[in-house]
Each structure stands twice: as C-alpha cells, then as structure tokens.
C-alpha cells in the first residue's frame, strides 16, 4: 500500500521533471521566437507542479500568476513590439563551434554546482524524506504579513521603482534629442521638433536586380 504510493509519487516527479526539461530546451532552441515564449510559459506552469509536489501551494499559485501570467506576457509583448524579432529568417544563430563551447561550459557549471551541493558535508544533516505536513497558508501569511511586514513594503517600493524606471527610460530618448546650439548667451539647447515619421526616408522596395 505505502510502497505503491511512493512509486506513484516518484513516477509523478519524473514525468513532471522530464516535461519541464523538454519544454525548457524547446524554449531555448525553437526557431520561431513566439513559440519559444509560449514554451517558456508552459514550462513555468509545470514548475508550479513541482512546487505542488513540494507541498508549497502558495508558491505554486504565485508562480502561475507571475511567471505564466505576467512574465511570459511581457516577453510576448516585447516580441510583438519588435517585428524584426519575429522573423526567424533574420535571426542569426550561433556557429556549431560556439555551440559546443557553450555546451561544455554550461555542463561544467551544472556539474560543479551539483558536485558542490551533493558532496558537501551539510547534505548529511538533511532528512532523507519530507517532514510531516504542518504548514499551511495561515502560518505563511502570519510569517510574512505579521512578523516581517517590512519585506512587503520593500517589495512594493521595488515595484514602484520599476514603474518609474520604465517610464523614465522610455522618456529618456526624447530628452536626448535636445541638441546644443551656440546661442547668443553661450550654449543653449533647443528642442528639436518631434517627427518620428517625417525624418525617415521611405524604404526602397527594389532589391538588387540581376
């Protein structure tokens, strides 16, 4: 009875982990970048399944809400705003030699961190299996909102700074258009008229004919 449950759980973990690894590989290697963003969203939702296996339900929900809902939407929007990035015929891929070197380096990164973590002496102090289920949302909420509520305010400040920074970076391009001129009283700056459309020459439709 118990043995069957243990096997079932391990099979579940192996299935979810293999799906996560395959989706992560596809998100990096798929030639169409819209599909790559889509596979990244799927990978984030399957990582939420890993968090459910770890019995951390709130982390799973937040993973789905922020990664699957927010960050993959950001990536898809950025792809949408840059039509050049959607066209996979314009994308340059790395040469096989560079790819091999990258594979070796990343493999050594994984092996080194894995070796350090699994051979390290503190690994023996951990229990071989999971402690009994005693956590729930109530205790986590009490930890975060009642005892360490300053962290929440710091997160709010970081989000505020990200909004203000995004607006400031988008406005910075307009500020750089102030060109200095030699005026009557020294160097002045005069605002150039904003005409995105008018200053750009029309694209030449004909390509090099034979």
């Amino acid at each position: 009875m118990m043995q069957v449950e243990v096997w079932f759980e391990q099979i579940e973990f192996l299935a979810i982990a293999s799906i996560v690894i395959i989706l992560a590989y596809l998100a990096l290697e798929h030639r169409n970048i819209v599909y790559a963003a889509l596979f990244f969203g799927f990978m984030a939702s399957f990582v939420a399944g890993i968090f459910l296996l770890l019995e951390a339900p709130f982390i799973a929900g937040m993973q789905i809400a922020v990664y699957t809902g927010g960050i993959s939407a950001l990536i898809i929007f950025a792809v949408l705003l840059i039509p050049r990035a959607q066209d996979s015929s314009l994308e340059a891929f790395a040469s096989p030699r560079r790819r091999r070197i990258g594979l070796m380096l990343s493999g050594s990164v994984g092996l080194l961190s894995g070796g350090l973590a699994l051979v390290f002496p503190w690994y023996d102090t951990f229990a071989p299996d999971m402690p009994p289920l005693e956590l729930n949302l109530e205790l986590l909420s009490q930890w975060l909102w009642s005892e360490h509520v300053i962290y929440v305010q710091m997160a709010a400040l970081i989000l505020l700074v990200s909004i203000v920074g995004a607006i400031a970076i988008l406005k910075m391009d307009k500020a750089e258009r102030l060109i200095p001129i030699q005026g009557e009283f020294g160097i002045e700056s005069v605002e150039e008229p904003i005409d995105d459309v008018a200053t750009i020459e029309e694209p030449s439709e004909e390509v090099g004919d034979e």
Binding site: L80, L81, L137, W145, V149, Q153, I167, L170, K171
Partner: protein, 147 residues
C-alpha cells in the same frame, strides 16, 4: 503528494481545456475544404475591406507600459491573496500596513498614468528598420544564389 492529490481536479480541468482546443482545431482542419487555395480565398476577411500590407505591423512602445502595470498589479494581487487566506487580516496594524502597501503601488500607477502621453513613440521607425533588414536579406540571397 498529499497536497498534489487535492489539485488533481485542476489537472483534469487543464487536460480537458487542452483537449477541447486541440479537438476544435483538428475538427476545423478536417471539415475545411482543401481545394481552391488562391489568394482571394486565403486572405483574411475584414468586413469587406481589402487587407493592405503585412500582418507584422509595429505597435507604439507605450503598450509595453500597460503590460508592466499589469505585472505590478499581478504581484500586488498575489500578496493580498496571501493575506486574504489568513484569519488576522482585520486586525488594526495589518489594515494600516495594507493601506501603505496599496498606496505605494497606486502612487506608481498614478505616475504612469500621468506620464503616459509623453512616452508616446510611434512604431514607424521599427517597421522601417524591419523592411530595410528584410530587403538586405533578400538582396544577399539573390547575390549568393545568382552565381
């Protein structure tokens, strides 16, 4: 595991959603006539208007600001959801903390709403760059393949 069992209905629901979408796509592919593939038939129908130009148009950049605002509200909702699952959410000090938390984020949203018209940049030059790169690519292909 003990927790994962509770979420099995969610899993079944997700599988049902995926199966329904894929089934509808396959059914429309099966029922669709596969003859008469000329340009009149395959062009998109826009209420009688003839579509002009490529489908990859360039949007103004300040659509990204709306997405950033969505992500910020998403994170705020996650924090408030954690609080809503607790039993002490109506104690006095927690109410004040929530008020400060929401006011900070709403200040950022107000700043964004106030400054949004000034960040307007039309996406025209993006489209121009795209067309230029595409023409370069095509000319390069013609040069390399012509000999």
């Amino acid at each position: 595991m003990r927790l994962f069992i509770d979420f099995v209905p969610v899993l079944i629901w997700a599988v049902l959603a995926v199966v329904m979408v894929v089934g509808m796509l396959v059914a429309s592919w099966v029922l669709r006539p596969h003859v008469l593939q000329n340009s009149e038939k395959t062009s998109s129908y826009e209420c009688g208007e003839e579509p002009i130009g490529p489908a990859r148009i360039s949007y103004p950049y300040n659509y990204l600001v709306y997405t950033i605002l969505f992500v910020v509200v998403d994170v705020m909702g996650a924090f408030l959801w954690l609080l809503a699952a607790s039993s002490f959410r109506l104690s006095e000090i927690v109410v004040w903390q929530v008020l400060v938390f929401v006011l900070i984020i709403m200040g950022g949203m107000g700043f964004a709403m106030k400054n949004m018209p000034e960040t307007f940049l039309s996406g025209q030059e993006t489209l121009t760059l795209y067309r230029k790169a595409k023409a370069e690519q095509a000319s390069k292909e013609i040069e390399s393949g012509g000999h």
